[in-house]
Symmetry: C2
Amino acid sequence: MEVTKSLRPAFSSDVLIRKLRGIADISDDDAAALGGLTIQEKDVPANRDILLEGDRPTNSFIVLDGVVCSSKHTGAGKRQITSFFVAGDLPDLHGIHLSVMDCNFSSMTPGRLGVIRHSVFRSICEQRPRVATAFWRSTLIDAAIYREWVTNVGRRDAYARAAHMLCELIVRLRFAGRIEDHVADLPITQAALGDAVGLSAVHVNRTLQALQGDGLIATSGTKLRALDWPGLVQAGEFVPTYLHQKDPDVAF
Amino acid sequence: MEVTKSLRPAFSSDVLIRKLRGIADISDDDAAALGGLTIQEKDVPANRDILLEGDRPTNSFIVLDGVVCSSKHTGAGKRQITSFFVAGDLPDLHGIHLSVMDCNFSSMTPGRLGVIRHSVFRSICEQRPRVATAFWRSTLIDAAIYREWVTNVGRRDAYARAAHMLCELIVRLRFAGRIEDHVADLPITQAALGDAVGLSAVHVNRTLQALQGDGLIATSGTKLRALDWPGLVQAGEFVPTYLHQKDPDVAF
DNA sequence: CGCTCCCTTGAGCACGGTCAAGAAGGGTGG
DNA sequence: CCACCCTTCTTGACCGTGCTCAAGGGAGCG
């Protein structure tokens, strides 16, 4: 069953255009210009560092396939994942205007990236204000997601926290057109999930079992299925407004 | 001793210009244009809602005085503060491109706001690309702060978490030119501080006492003094890179 | 076949939450 | 000016969520 293959666009610029059309009004003219961008494709294995704190990159990248995360490390050697990025997302778009990276980017799963030079971004932003706005908006949505994560980590217990995270991942993968229904192929370790929700790997394991025990999710290998989507949404208090998608109904 | 008074700029546009000059290159010409903006001043008492989740504002505001926060509420009725904003900050600048508010804004202390219409922002952004970039950069810095907060709340213990938060507040107030040395006048309740760092009010109290006991801070009334700034920075693992100020030395 | 990484489970513990009650401060009205 | 009230701070006691440490099992890979 090569379902995912048929879902994948032929050109990397299509991934970008789909993303922007999900969050802003992009004319066919603008889309054509985006289609002409130079995007250098690059495969990455899982768990590979892409960019490190302190770097001063001259490129940004778009996720074409797989899952990428941004993370920070504390003095005690602990890791906090601050966001996930799926197909279409531009994890370090902020690098255009923030010269020094304040976090790390790494691949969580095997994936494909599209590398775009900052200068390319800057010139299309100058020429096409609508596109510039869409990019700005994209970074604002990232910020909205960070806000939600602060709330998730700060004020929800393990059960709700994990449920919320799964909801977000599933919905974002749906927006990206990478999954049908509520079944996601997420080859992410429980330790990584713990680093994202601020829990230990052991407790993530127990929490996922609790979610399974309540019939909300089912896992088999790396596949995650939301058996009871409304139940999962409720458990995680998940309200997708913060994702600011133009057509939020896609999420359900 | 009216120290704070003499630190305060005469015009609200000066607060904006100072802010932007702290994070971007703003020519005198651009500054002059910013000085001509229509900013309607508005006093707010402490603990007043400014904007609520779901609102669709047509204005943004700049903090001229006092401290403002953004917050979210969970289903369990708990509050998480997702960021603080001090003089010069533009808390809901994202409202320009994100029509629906995904969080609340409220004043933490008595303060003064400057209201600016979205249309005014949009037109200055069109006419002055440098200014547009500075505004974009401002929202990117907000996002960087959110990332740091996720890390703070997710992976640091109460002691380090509180220390980090105090460091950030002090440094940002210094950048804003609102305090000298490391003494801040912060009429913020311990409950509010707890909502920001994801702790209960009781535990914030005990943690602050621990910080005092270790000689890192001293409090008298609403005044907070960092007795041992290097010690506080170390306790909070505070690295101000994520604030992306042009002249980070001001922080020390 | 053996190594490594990840998942799983158990046991004990500690950090921080909750509940409750008293003290202190600040504002308001008589 | 004082009395009162309300909010905030403070402290104690208990408890529970989630962490740590440790060990075994399973799956993938060289």
